[in-house]
């Protein structure tokens, strides 16, 4: 039996094509972009939900504590964040419908790219008017 000596660093070099580093190695087609956006917006909405649970929880300490914290929601940074949240929600909802179609309608798989463009169209049609209203409310 022979023993093979492995030079230091060789393992890390060899293993480097597995794991998250691989994301950088592939030129993403439309489908990969749609999936990445779906994950990012999903995590973003989850993060907001956690925050939302915390602030609703504060009602338990009486209306004054709750009201005191409402200044956060009026802060311009938070309101900008709200616009981003709305963007995430619109995209996640529209792309969610696309995924449901792909899951249950056999022909949808052949039109996944067109469906992705439709998702972007629906997203823009929903988001732009909403963003205009939100920015207007922010300025007044």
């Amino acid at each position: 039996m022979t023993t093979e000596t492995v030079p230091p660093g060789r393992d890390t070099a060899v293993a480097s094509t597995r794991g998250f580093v691989a994301y950088r190695g592939y030129r993403p087609p439309a489908g990969m972009l749609s999936w990445a956006l779906h994950r990012i917006t999903g995590l973003g909405v989850l993060l907001f939900l956690l925050l939302h649970i915390v602030d609703i929880f504060l009602v338990g300490y009486g209306p004054e504590t709750f009201n005191k914290l409402l200044f956060l929601y009026r802060h311009p940074v938070f309101r900008m964040g709200e616009i981003i949240l709305v963007a995430g929600l619109y995209y996640h909802a529209a792309n969610g419908v696309r995924i449901i179609l792909i899951d249950f309608w056999d022909r949808a798989a052949q039109y996944e790219r067109q469906l992705f463009y439709a998702v972007i169209a629906v997203f823009l049609a929903g988001f732009i008017p909403t963003a205009v209203l939100m920015v207007r409310a922010m300025l007044t």
Binding site: V14, R18, G25, R27, W35, E112
Partner: protein, 231 residues
């Protein structure tokens, strides 16, 4: 025309990590990337290592990342890529040397779906006949050449050990075969935690398939079959 090939190199005996090397080669626009690689190997640097066998898009040996997408080097023409071409090994597998990756995990997953006809009924006097409609169901997935372009393009496969698109395509090929009798066993394999449900319908596999197989569609058909038959 002259093109610059930027090739990822790695020799496990001397290198600690992969690096890139550029080669200038003279090729025709209608040449394939494989021809350019041969130019390098035959006339410039004999140490360059890659797999190729039939060189006509049938054996599936020369799957690699060409300009960031999984392709067969023998099917992509230089004129489709321009004068700067980056060639790298498939993602998600251990690199053995240069562009050669260890595909053993890929074939292990392939074997788990039992990619062969299972039918214990006594064979008829002639062949087991199918109607054209029955044949149509497995037409697409029969085209697979096991090049691993799809599995190595799957972002889920890069981070998670799961069956991968190619194994499911080959499971689908027998699952939807009217002559096959191992439906239950095959569905059980595909319905595992690391079976079809890991698919997130990213469509990288469909985009990468050099045979034009609607890979994601096949995976979705298996999902629906499990859902409606075993649910």
């Amino acid at each position: 025309m002259q093109v610059t090939l930027r090739i990822q190199r790695f020799n496990p005996d001397t290198d600690t990590k992969p690096y890139y090397r550029e080669y200038a080669v003279e090729v025709e626009p209608t040449d394939r990337v494989l021809d350019a690689l041969n130019q390098v190997k035959w006339y410039q640097d004999g140490s360059l290592t890659y797999r190729r066998s039939c060189a006509h898009g049938i054996c599936g040996s020369d799957a690699m990342r060409i300009n960031g997408r999984n392709r067969l080097a023998c099917k992509v023409l230089i004129k489709e890529l321009g004068s700067k071409i980056t060639v790298e090994p498939l993602l998600g597998f251990r690199v053995i040397k240069d562009l050669v990756v260890d595909l053993e995990p890929f074939f292990d997953q392939y074997r788990t779906v039992m990619p062969y006809l299972i039918n214990d009924e006594p064979p008829p006097a002639r062949e087991r006949l199918q109607t054209p409609e029955e044949r149509e169901l497995i037409e697409d997935t029969s085209k697979c050449i096991l090049c691993a372009c799809c599995t190595a393009a799957c972002p889920i496969f890069w981070t998670t050990e799961w069956l991968g698109p190619a194994a499911i395509v080959n499971g689908h090929r027998f699952l939807f075969d009217s002559r096959d009798r191992a439906t239950e066993e095959r569905l059980a394999v595909l319905n595992q935690r690391f079976g079809v449900w890991r698919c997130r319908t990213i469509f990288n596999c469909t985009e990468a398939c050099p045979r034009g197989i609607q890979v994601t569609r096949a995976i979705e058909q298996v999902k629906r079959r499990i859902l409606f038959e075993q649910g």
